[in-house]
């Protein structure tokens, strides 16, 4: 009897093994290609930061035209039943070092939960979970074309190149209306982080810095000839982040995250100093009856550079920003409005270089998904900002910049 049941078990196990993985794991590979055409009208006295100016728009008046937006290519698919690979690349068409370059490349391990404790691990190059807006494929905002200043900056300067572990007590399976989770990440290759917020301050746009690409020709960046690479290791010290997430019935999602790249501001690699950058992020997203969504987020931190007796850096910049977004969806339509404020202030070393920014911005966005593939977006943006070192370029520190973008986007998932 024992032998019979053993061989039966073995037989069933063999059947199961043969039956499950191969034939069906091959199907679920998803390739997404996205391209858009933009009609852009800009009204600004400043040159865009992408052209060596200190304007905060991606496109200044010289680009007041119809143009091709970024092209995105994305792959996401299983390597095994519980390990998924995702690779995202953008071609921004703005003379970046590589015509097309990666923004994320990550392996994610999701073991099938056997209790309410849910483990997740990510390894590779990816965004830490800071943004409450950038929820779409390619880390794009689903609410507006341009994410808030906070998440624009995350897209510009922040990437986890390392690993992350997430443990969540998920309530749904045990009849509890909320989930609570903790995340820790360890990473390197992020030492120049801070240079953009120091030199240009906050901005509002949808260009993400590629992993092997370069930053735009921001005035004051050490190597504006195109060789300045953001994602590199200078001091040999790993950084970390730690955060908590709370979710109630998927209607309220709240996140806090503490981030510290543990840079050594005294370290220099012949091209650039390591920056010591730290921030705390607080975000909440609330889904209200009637398909209304409210998102509020705040991020505050500092970044430091240069040797100093106390090791804190000879130049320290404080930065903070917050925004409130209200969005309403009706079927295939979504309308969103966002208001934000943003600031930077030099806390040490202002005599050497006084970086100081103060501003606010309004964004009105409308999106219409005509079909699963075709999408129309309109975004009106007004940024009212003062940036002290615009004087060094001989322009007024205060400026009101406006843009309207009309975007026809096509994306195809195979």
């Amino acid at each position: 009897m024992g032998a019979v049941s053993r061989s039966l078990c073995a037989g069933l196990l063999l059947l199961f093994t043969l039956h499950v993985p191969e034939s069906h794991a091959a199907g679920p590979h998803e390739f997404t290609a996205q391209v858009d055409v933009r009609l852009i009208a800009a009204d600004t006295p400043l040159k865009s930061f992408t052209d060596g100016g200190l304007g905060l728009l991606l496109f200044d008046e010289s680009r007041d035209v119809v143009r091709l937006g970024p092209v995105m290519l994305d792959y996401s698919g299983p390597l095994t039943d519980t390990i998924r690979a995702t690779v995202t690349a953008f071609a921004n068409g703005d003379n970046d070092k590589n015509p097309i370059d990666l923004t994320e490349a990550v392996l994610e391990w999701r073991p099938v939960p056997v209790s309410q404790w849910r483990w997740r691990a990510r390894l590779g190059a990816f965004y830490p979970a800071v943004s409450m807006e950038n929820r779409g494929i390619g880390w794009q905002s689903i609410y507006s074309l341009s994410p808030s200043a906070i998440n624009t900056w995350i897209g510009e300067e922040v990437r986890t190149i390392g690993g992350e572990l997430n443990l969540t007590a998920a309530g749904a399976g045990v009849g509890r209306p909320f989930d609570i989770g903790a995340v820790i990440g360890v990473y390197g290759w992020n030492d120049p982080m801070g240079v953009v917020i120091q030199e240009r301050g906050w901005a509002v746009h949808d260009r993400q810095t590629a992993l092997f690409g370069r930053l735009p020709d921001i005035n004051g960046l050490p190597a504006a000839d195109g060789s300045f690479e953001l994602f590199r290791e200078i001091d040999g010290r790993m950084g970390y982040y730690a955060g908590l997430e709370f979710s109630w019935l998927d209607r309220v999602v709240a996140r806090v995250l503490h981030y510290d790249n543990r840079g050594d501001p005294a370290q220099f690699d012949q091209e650039e100093y390591a920056w010591l950058s730290r921030f705390d992020s607080f975000g909440v997203r609330i889904e209200l009856p009637g398909d209304w969504t409210v998102i509020a987020q705040r991020l505050e931190g500092d970044t430091a550079i240069g040797p100093s007796a106390d090791g804190r850096g000879s130049h320290i910049l404080d930065f903070w920003s917050d925004f409130l977004l209200v969005s309403k969806s009706i079927g295939r339509h979504r309308a969103s409005a966002r208001y934000e404020q943003f600031h930077t202030a030099t806390a040490r070393g202002a005599g050497f270089y006084d970086s100081h920014q103060s501003g606010d911005a309004w964004t009105l966005a409308y999106r219409f998904d005509l079909t699963d593939s075709w999408q129309l977006q309109v975004e009106a943006l007004q940024i009212d900002s003062a940036l002290r070192h615009r004087r060094l370029q001989g322009v007024q520190p205060d400026a009101v910049e406006r843009s309207v973008q009309l975007v026809v986007r096509y994306s195809l998932t195979l």
Binding site: G136, I142, A170, L249, D250, R251, S329, R334
Partner: protein
């Protein structure tokens, strides 16, 4: 005492045999505290006499809980003990359906279409289903402890037919219940050839439903 029990058992069997041709029916309207109809609520009639609990549910054809637009469809299903449910995936993206609920632990490796045989549910109780790829997907299979059950429609109505005469506890469960077990609402006694009309007002506090995934837009984060 033992003698009395044996006698009562015989009497019940006799009653069952007698009433088999004269089944009763229950027509219920389920509302919340504000008298608004409650859809997707499971209603069961559980015989108060435990010796009658053994009646097995007739072997029904496998039920189908589909996956459409990143949601289980239907989201709530009630089946009898030993009932089978197939979980096809009609989406273009792959899903990975699992449950760690005590009455049925299982997991269907990543798939599209219908590669797996129906899952058999032989223990009564609530089985909560998830997708390991899409955490916001939630489905519920309630395995009824008696063969007399139904699920309310959009108007909050449940109709249960072919119920042998007898006394039953009316139990209900819905996805907005704070509990994971069906709750006794009241007792009813049914006579043969009778359709009992009841309105069941749930006096309990109900939690809101989970938020469905944001639309429009494909979500990844």
């Amino acid at each position: 005492m033992p003698h009395f029990i044996r006698f009562s058992g015989i009497a019940t069997v006799a009653l069952l045999a007698w009433s088999s041709g004269q089944a009763a029916a229950l027509h219920a309207l389920i509302t919340d505290r504000d008298r608004a109809p409650m859809a997707d609520t499971v209603l069961m009639l559980v015989p108060t006499d435990p010796s009658r609990d053994a009646a097995a549910a007739p072997q029904a054809a496998p039920q189908v809980m589909d996956q459409v637009k990143l949601q289980f469809n239907p989201q709530v299903m009630v089946i009898g003990k030993g009932g089978q449910v197939a979980f096809p995936n009609s989406d273009t993206v792959a899903h990975q359906v699992y449950s760690f609920s005590t009455p049925k632990r299982f997991s269907l490796g990543l798939y599209r279409g219908l590669p797996y045989a129906p899952v058999v549910f032989d223990q009564p109780g609530l089985v909560v289903l998830g997708c390991n790829i899409h955490d916001f997907m939630l489905g519920y299979v309630y395995v009824a402890e008696s063969p007399y059950f139904g699920k309310s429609n959009e108007r909050g109505e449940v109709h249960v037919a072919d119920i042998p005469a007898g006394t039953y506890a009316l139990k209900a469960w819905g996805p907005r219940f704070k509990e994971q077990e069906a709750q006794v609402l009241q007792q009813v006694t049914l006579r043969g050839d009778e359709t009992l009309d009841v309105t069941l007002k749930l006096d309990r506090m109900l939690s809101p439903l989970r938020n469905p995934a944001a639309k429009p837009g494909k979500l990844r984060y």
